[in-house]
């Protein structure tokens, strides 16, 4: 088994309204920035073990599908890094 770190970025789908993003847009405009749009999201950094890179990628996607993202409202992307030791604890 090898150690991996996956960063899973979860964002509301383009067609789903993001009221937090809208509020942040207004706040950034109040600071004087010419902001067209803000979309919010969540980032999960997961350290885990897997047999190899293929399995690790599969595992990270399963985490996204089954828990970290809700397929009804969210899109997600996986960034995989190995070994995990290069990631600050």
């Amino acid at each position: 088994m090898a150690e991996f770190a996956a960063t899973i970025h979860v964002r509301p789908k383009a067609e789903v309204r993001d009221p937090q993003g809208e509020a942040i847009t207004a706040a950034l405009r109040s600071l004087g920035f010419d902001v067209a749009q803000v979309r919010t999201g969540k980032e999960f950094v997961v350290r885990f073990s897997a047999a190899d890179e293929t399995r690790a990628r599969e595992a990270a996607r399963t985490m996204g599908d089954q828990l970290l993202a809700n397929p009804v409202i969210d899109d997600y992307a996986v960034e995989l890094r190995a070994p995990a030791r290069s990631v600050p604890r």
């Binding site: 009221p19 828990l67 809700n70 009804v72 409202i73």
Partner: protein, 230 residues
């Protein structure tokens, strides 16, 4: 009739449901989610609250509970299941009801009374109430129901929209919608009709002292319609 009221860590409305069923003379038991065995029960309630502190998404962690497997089995067997507030969120996360509940469009936690029109009688909780206006309390920050266009068309055309936010004249207006929910949807049923989810709290309006009794009309659908003076 014996009703299981599921209790997750962070659930806060199980005792209100127990109180309501007590008033209605319906046998009930509060059941810890991890020990949930719904054999021997005739109906199940997934109450409101903040299961697992709403971490990740409302209902997202509760859906991994052993209780979800039991709810899925019982739902397939036709057991009446009612999810209110966080219970509705859990049922959507678990895939027992379509769509998802997201942050209210105005970003506020809303604690208020709302009116709903009963759009579907095809549930054990709304039978005989078709077209009626019900007034119930809400208390939530993530009650805006969303789905993709196909799902919305499907729930509308199949009569799965059970409850819609309306004004006092029974019209679905933006002002009557407390959270920005798509098409003013307040409650949904599954295709079979035995599972109902809604954001409002029927258990908190079962006696005049609490400001309303319309919740009783929904919950007594489970029992022998015991008549208790309001």
């Amino acid at each position: 009739m014996k009703v299981a009221i599921l209790l997750y860590p962070g659930t806060w409305s199980e005792r209100d449901f127990a109180h309501a069923f007590g008033l209605l003379g319906i046998e009930h038991e509060i059941v810890w989610h991890a020990d949930a065995d719904l054999h021997g029960f005739d109906a199940a309630i997934v109450p409101g609250g903040f299961s697992y502190g709403d971490h990740l998404r409302a209902g997202a962690i509760a859906k991994l509970s052993p209780a979800t497997r039991e709810l899925r089995r019982a739902a397939a067997d036709g057991m009446p299941i009612l999810g209110s507030c966080n219970g509705f969120q859990i049922l959507c996360e678990a895939g027992l009801l379509p769509g998802a509940l997201v942050r209210n469009t105005h970003l506020e936690f809303r604690c208020d009374w709302v009116r709903m029109r009963v759009e579907s009688e095809e549930t054990p909780f709304t039978r005989g109430l078709g077209g009626e206006l019900l007034r119930m309390p809400i208390a939530h920050g993530e009650g805006c129901w969303v789905a993709d266009e196909d799902t919305l068309l499907r729930v509308e055309s199949s009569g799965q929209v059970a409850l819609r936010y309306v004004d006092e004249r029974g019209t679905a207006t933006p002002e009557a919608n407390p959270n920005g929910s798509t098409a003013n949807i307040a409650g949904l049923r599954n295709e079979a009709g035995n599972v109902l989810g809604l954001m409002p709290h029927p258990e908190r309006c079962v006696e005049d002292l609490l400001g309303g009794t319309d919740g009783r009309r929904m919950l007594e659908g489970l029992g022998a319609r015991t008549v208790i003076p309001a």
